[in-house]
C-alpha cells in the first residue's frame, strides 16, 4: 500500500475538484475525503495543494465560497461550483476523455 503511488495525476486536481463540487457544495476536508472515497483510495490529496488549488479556482471564477455550519455544527468554508465552473468542467472532461482514450489506444497497440 505504502509503495503504490497515490499522487494525484499532474494537472488533474482542478478537474477532480470541479467534478466533486458538481454534485454538492463541500468544504476542503470533505472534498479530499470524497476524492479518496470515489477513487477508492487510489488518490490521496495533499492539503496544501488542495487549499491553494481552491484559491486558484475561486480566483478563476469557477468556484464561490462561503463560511457555513457543517452537519456536526462547526463553521467551515464551503465551496460551490459557479456557472462558468460548470462550463470549465465540461471542457476539461472532454479534453481528458480525448487524451486518455488516445493514451489507452497507444498502450493497447503496444501490448
Amino acid at each position: 500500500m505504502s509503495d503504490s503511488n497515490t499522487d494525484v495525476i499532474q494537472g488533474t486536481l482542478d478537474m477532480l475538484i470541479l467534478k466533486t463540487l458538481s454534485l454538492e457544495p463541500l468544504h476542503g476536508f470533505g472534498i479530499a475525503r470524497r476524492v479518496e472515497q470515489i477513487s477508492r483510495d487510489v488518490f490521496k490529496v495533499n492539503p496544501g495543494s488542495l487549499l491553494t488549488a481552491l484559491q486558484r479556482l475561486e480566483r478563476a471564477g469557477w468556484l464561490d465560497s462561503e463560511w457555513r455550519q457543517t452537519e456536526n455544527a462547526r463553521r467551515a468554508k464551503f465551496y460551490r461550483l459557479t456557472r462558468s465552473g460548470k462550463k470549465q468542467l465540461e471542457i476539461e472532461t472532454a479534453d481528458w476523455t480525448r487524451r486518455s482514450s488516445a493514451i489507452a489506444r497507444l498502450l493497447r497497440q503496444e501490448g
Partner: protein, 893 residues
C-alpha cells in the same frame, strides 16, 4: 474577468492582510480538525487520531504557509518586508549609508549636470531642419579663420553650385530712440536669404524679399519673440508698425517663433537686410563692400557633402574670372575654409568643454570604484550574518533578493540626491557660464544622461552587492560561521587594495589638472595689463541720429557735431563729484569691443611701400593716458593742444617704437595710420604696452591719436573714469551728466574695469572652478577609500596586533605598521596616477597660460596634497590599532 478577479482578490488580501491570514489559518485548522474528527469516527482515541492526521497531512504550519503565500500579492508583501528590512539595515549602518549615498549622488549629479551642459553645444543637432547641411565659410588668413568681404561673397554665391542658398551676417547694434531711455539693441545685418539658410520662417508676418536687400532699399526689420514680448507685449497687430533705430523709421515685417534660437548670435533681437552698395563694386575698392568683416553661411544642396563644397569653393578661389574683381586684400589666394555650423559655434569652447567632460567622467569613475569598494567592505562584514541566515533555512535566492533590495534602495537614495545635485548643478553651470558660450538657453537637465549615470552606478552597486553573496551561499555554511568569529583577513582584501590604488590614481589625474589650471590662472592674474584697473569705471556711449549725418552741402559738419557732443559730455562728466580723472577712447582695453574694427595698417615714412604693421588704433581725448594710468616712457601725452588745426600727433606703444626704431629716438618720426592720402602723424611720445583683447594675448603694437585729428569721428566712444571711492556707485550720476548734454544718446555699457577683467577671464575661471570642485570631490572619495580599507584591515588584524603588542611591540611600532600599509597603497596609486596624468594633462595644454603641462610646482604641490590627505585618512585607523588591548583580544578568542 479572471484577471480582474486576480487583481481584486489580491488587493483585498493586501489591504485586509490580517483578516486574510486569519481566514487561511482557520481553514487549515478546520481541515485538520475534520481529519481528527474523521479518525475518531473510525474509532481511534483522540491522541491516536491526532497522530494519524499529522502523519497523513504533514506539518500544519507548512500547509498554512503554503496557503497563505498563494497569489501575486504575497510577492508584494515579501518585497515590502524586504524593503523594511533593507531600510533598517541602512539606518543601523548610517556611516556606510551616508557615504555611499553621497558618493552616488555626487557621481550621478555631477556627470549629469556637465553632460546636460555640454550636450546641446557639442553633440545635439542644432535646432534647425537638416542642420547638418548648414555650413560656414571663412577665408584662411595666416592659418586662422578670417572674415570675408561682400565682394568675395557675391562672387561665391553666384559661382558656387554646392549651396542652395548663402547669406552674409554681421553684428548690427542700432540705438533705439523714442522710449523712456535711449537703448542699444543687439541684432544682425544679413542677406535676404538668411532665414532660408537656417530653415526657420517667421511665426508672424513674412521673410525678407531679395528686392529688400539692395542699396537704398526699404528699411525693414524682423524681430525676435523676446523683443516682441518686451516692446509690444505680444501684440499681433505689430506688423507694419515703425520702430526708430539710429534715427530712421524701420518697418516691422515679421516676428520669429519663440523657439527660434539664433546660434550665430544668441543675443540678437532683430534682423535687417545689409543692403550693400554694389553699383561701383568692380571699380571702387575703397568701399565697405570690400572690407573683410563679414561672416558667411550657406545651406548645402541635398546630397552635397562638405568635402564636395570645400572642393567647389577651392576651385573658385583658384580661378578668378574677369567679371569678378578681387582687390589684393580679398584675393582668396590662401583658400577658403568650409566648416559645419555645429563645429563652428563649438570651435572656441570645445577644448574647455571636452576637458570638463573628461574631468567629470573621472569623477564618475572614482564614484563607481568607491561604491564597489564600500559594497565589498560591507559584505565582508556581513559574511557571518549571511551564514547564520543560510543556516536558519533562508534559500540562496531569498538572500540574494534581500541584497538586491538593499542595493536598489541605496541606489534610489543616491539617485534621488543625485537628481537634486544635477538640477542644482545645471543651474550653477548656467549662472557660471562664460559669456560667448553658445546655446546656454538650451541647457536643461538631460534625462538620458541621468538615466545613464544612474543606471551604471546602480548596476555596479547591485553586482558588487550580490557577487559576494553568491560566494557565501555557495560555500559550506560551517567555515563561514567560524570565520565570522575568528576575524582573519577576508578574501576580497586584495581586490579592495587594488581599488584604492585605482582611486588614488584617478584622483591624482584630476588634481594635476586642477593644479595646472590653478597655477595658470595665478600666472594670468599676475599679468600686468599695462594700466591701473582699480577704481576705474567705463561707460560706452553710442551716438545716433541724423544730426550727425554729413549734409552734401557741408561735408564734415555732422562729424563736428559728433565731436562736440563727446567734448561737452566729457566736460559734464568731469564735473561729477567723486571723480579724479576722466577721458574717452575709441577702443577700450579688455572689453568685448571688436578689436578687428580698430586694427589698421601703420606705415612709417621711409618704410618699404609693401611693408606695414597692423596696429590697434586708439582715438583718445586729452588725459586718456593719465586717467588709465598708462605710463609715459618718453615725450608727451595727447593734450588740449592737439586740435583739428594743430599738427597731427601720435603716441606709439613701447614695443612698436622699439621694433620700428631700434636704438633710435622715435620722437618726431612720421607715419600714416590707415589711409595714405592724409597728412602725416608726428610721433610725440611713447607709452607703455597695454593688453587689448585678453591678458593671455600679447598684441602690443598700438598707436594713439587725438579724436580731434582723426579722418572720421568715431560714433562709439568709451569714457574711462578714475574715481576716488567705489567706481560702480558713480555710474548713475555719470549717465545723467552725459544725458544732460543730449538725452537721446544711449549708454550701452557701464562696467568697472574689474568686472571687464573678470569677463575676459571667464572661460578659464569656469573650467578652473569645475576642476577644483571635481578635484576636491575626488580627493574626498579617495580619502574615504583609503580610510575604509585600512579601518577594515585593522579590524581584521585585531588578533595579530594583539599578539604583536603582547610580544612587546610599542604603540609607535604598531602605528608605523598600519601607517606604512596605508601609505604604501597611496604611493603606488600616486605612481600609477603620474603615468596616467602625463597622458591626460597633455589634453589641457591648450587651456594653460604661461606654464607647461609638466609644470613642476603644480605636480609636486598636488602630490604633496594627496599624500597629506592620505596620511590623515590613515591616521585614525592606525591610532585605533594602537588602542588594541592585547589581554582583551587574546582572551576573546
Amino acid at each position: 474577468m479572471s484577471l480582474w478577479r486576480q487583481l481584486t482578490y489580491g488587493f483585498h488580501k493586501l489591504v485586509h492582510h490580517r483578516a486574510a491570514d486569519d481566514e487561511a489559518a482557520d481553514e487549515v485548522r478546520q481541515y485538520f480538525e475534520d481529519a481528527i474528527a474523521a479518525g475518531e469516527a473510525r474509532g481511534l482515541s483522540t491522541e491516536a487520531a491526532k497522530r494519524a492526521a499529522r502523519l497523513e497531512l504533514g506539518n500544519m504550519t507548512v500547509v498554512r504557509e503554503e496557503v497563505r503565500t498563494y497569489g501575486w500579492e504575497s510577492t508584494v508583501r515579501t518585497i515590502g518586508s524586504d524593503l523594511r528590512y533593507a531600510a533598517r539595515q541602512l539606518r543601523s549602518h548610517l556611516g556606510f549609508t551616508v557615504v555611499s549615498a553621497l558618493t552616488l549622488a555626487l557621481g550621478i549629479g555631477a556627470s549629469t549636470a556637465i553632460f546636460s551642459a555640454v550636450d546641446p553645444i557639442l553633440f545635439e543637432p542644432l535646432p534647425y531642419p537638416h542642420a547638418n547641411r548648414i555650413m560656414t565659410v571663412w577665408t584662411s588668413g595666416q592659418g586662422a579663420r578670417s572674415e570675408l568681404s561682400f565682394g568675395n561673397f557675391q562672387e561665391l554665391a553666384r559661382r558656387s553650385h554646392s549651396f542652395e542658398s548663402m547669406t552674409i551676417f554681421e553684428p548690427w547694434q542700432p540705438a533705439m530712440t523714442g522710449g523712456a531711455e535711449p537703448e542699444r539693441l543687439d541684432g544682425q545685418a544679413v542677406s535676404a536669404s538668411f532665414l532660408q539658410v537656417l530653415g526657420i520662417a517667421p511665426a508672424l508676418g513674412r521673410d525678407f524679399q531679395p528686392s529688400e536687400d539692395v542699396f537704398g532699399g526699404p528699411k525693414v526689420v524682423i524681430v525676435s519673440n523676446r523683443l516682441w514680448q518686451r516692446l509690444f507685449r505680444g501684440d499681433r497687430n505689430v506688423l507694419g508698425r515703425p520702430i526708430k533705430l539710429d534715427g530712421d523709421n524701420f518697418v516691422i515685417i515679421g516676428v520669429m517663433p519663440r523657439s527660434f534660437d539664433d546660434v550665430l548670435s544668441s543675443s540678437a533681437d532683430l534682423w535687417t537686410p545689409a543692403q550693400y552698395d554694389t553699383r561701383q563694386i568692380e571699380k571702387d575698392f575703397a568701399t565697405p563692400a570690400w572690407g573683410n568683416h563679414l561672416r558667411v553661411a550657406g545651406r548645402l544642396r541635398p546630397g552635397v557633402t562638405r568635402a564636395q563644397a570645400t572642393e567647389d569653393l577651392a576651385q573658385i578661389a583658384r580661378t578668378p574670372w574677369p567679371e569678378f574683381a578681387r582687390p589684393r586684400w580679398a584675393s582668396m589666394r590662401r583658400g577658403l575654409i568650409v566648416d559645419s555650423l555645429q563645429d563652428d559655434i563649438a570651435h572656441a569652447v570645445k577644448p574647455a568643454l571636452l576637458a570638463v567632460l573628461g574631468a567629470v567622467l573621472l569623477v564618475l569613475a572614482i564614484a563607481c570604484v568607491n561604491v564597489v569598494n564600500l559594497m565589498l567592505a560591507r559584505s565582508e562584514q556581513r559574511r557571518g550574518e549571511f551564514a547564520v541566515r543560510a543556516a536558519l533555512g533562508a534559500s540562496r535566492v531569498r538572500i540574494i533578493r534581500q541584497l538586491i533590495t538593499e542595493s536598489l534602495l541605496l541606489a534610489a537614495l543616491g539617485g534621488t540626491l543625485g537628481l537634486g545635485v544635477a538640477v542644482a548643478g545645471v543651474r550653477a553651470l548656467v549662472a557660471l557660464s562664460p559669456p560667448g558660450l553658445p546655446r546656454v538657453d538650451a541647457i536643461t537637465v538631460d534625462s538620458l544622461a541621468f538615466a545613464f549615470a544612474f543606471g551604471i552606478t546602480t548596476l555596479i552597486g547591485v553586482l558588487t552587492g550580490v557577487i559576494p553573496a553568491l560566494h557565501v551561499s555557495r560555500e559550506d555554511v560551517q567555515p563561514a560561521l567560524q570565520q565570522s568569529s575568528r576575524r582573519t583577513a577576508g578574501g576580497h582584501a586584495w581586490t579592495r587594495r587594488a581599488l584604492v590604488v585605482t582611486e588614488v590614481a584617478l584622483a591624482l589625474v584630476l588634481l594635476v589638472g586642477a593644479g595646472l589650471l590653478l597655477r595658470s590662472m595665478r600666472r594670468l592674474l599676475g599679468v600686468d595689463p599695462g594700466f591701473n584697473t582699480a577704481h576705474l569705471l567705463t561707460l560706452q556711449v553710442q551716438t545716433s541720429g541724423h544730426q550727425f549725418d554729413d549734409p552734401p552741402s557741408a561735408p564734415g559738419a555732422g562729424e563736428n557735431i559728433r565731436r562736440r557732443f563727446f567734448r561737452q559730455a566729457l566736460e559734464a562728466v568731469r564735473k561729477v563729484p567723486g571723480i579724479e580723472q576722466a577721458a574717452f577712447t575709441s577702443l577700450l582695453p579688455l572689453s568685448d569691443d571688436p578689436s578687428w574694427v580698430s586694427t589698421y595698417g601703420a606705415h612709417f615714412e621711409n618704410d618699404d611701400p609693401q611693408s606695414g604693421h597692423n596696429v590697434f588704433r586708439y582715438a583718445v581725448s586729452p588725459g586718456y593716458c593719465q586717467a588709465m594710468g598708462i605710463p609715459l616712457i618718453s615725450g608727451r601725452c595727447i593734450d588740449e593742444h592737439d586740435t583739428a588745426t594743430a599738427l597731427p600727433a601720435a603716441l606709439l606703444s613701447e614695443s612698436l617704437a622699439r621694433s620700428q626704431f631700434p636704438g633710435q629716438n622715435p620722437i618726431g618720426k612720421r607715419l600714416h595710420v590707415g589711409p595714405w592720402n592724409r597728412p602725416w602723424y608726428i610721433v610725440v611720445g611713447v607709452v607703455g604696452d597695454v593688453k587689448q583683447t585678453s591678458l593671455a594675448i600679447d598684441e602690443p603694437d598700438a598707436a594713439y591719436l587725438s579724436t580731434e585729428q582723426t579722418w572720421f569721428a568715431d560714433d562709439t566712444l568709451s569714457f574711462v573714469i578714475r574715481t576716488r571711492g567705489d567706481a560702480a556707485a558713480l555710474a548713475p550720476a555719470i549717465k545723467n551728466a552725459i544725458w544732460s548734454v543730449d538725452r537721446n544718446q544711449p549708454v550701452v555699457r557701464a562696467a568697472t574695469m574689474d568686472t571687464l577683467l573678470a569677463v575676459t577671464n571667464a572661460q578659464r575661471t569656469f573650467v578652473l572652478i569645475l576642476f577644483e570642485a571635481f578635484g576636491i570631490v575626488a580627493l574626498a572619495l579617495a580619502a574615504v577609500g583609503i580610510y575604509g580599507v585600512l579601518a577594515g584591515s585593522v579590524v581584521e588584524r585585531t588578533r595579530e596586533i594583539g599578539v604583536r603588542a603582547a610580544l612587546g611591540a610599542s604603540r609607535g611600532n604598531i602605528l608605523t605598521l598600519i601607517l606604512r600599509d596605508g601609505m604604501r597603497l597611496t604611493a603606488f596609486g600616486i605612481l600609477v596616477g603620474i603615468c596616467a596624468a602625463l597622458f591626460a594633462s597633455r589634453a589641457l595644454a591648450t587651456l594653460l597660460y604661461g606654464i607647461s603641462y609638466l609644470d613642476a610646482s603644480a605636480w609636486l604641490g598636488v602630490i604633496a596634497l594627496l599624500t597629506a590627505v592620505a596620511g590623515l585618512a590613515c591616521w585614525t585607523p592606525a591610532w585605533r590599532a594602537t588602542r588594541v588591548d592585547p589581554s582583551v583580544t587574546l582572551r576573546a578568542e
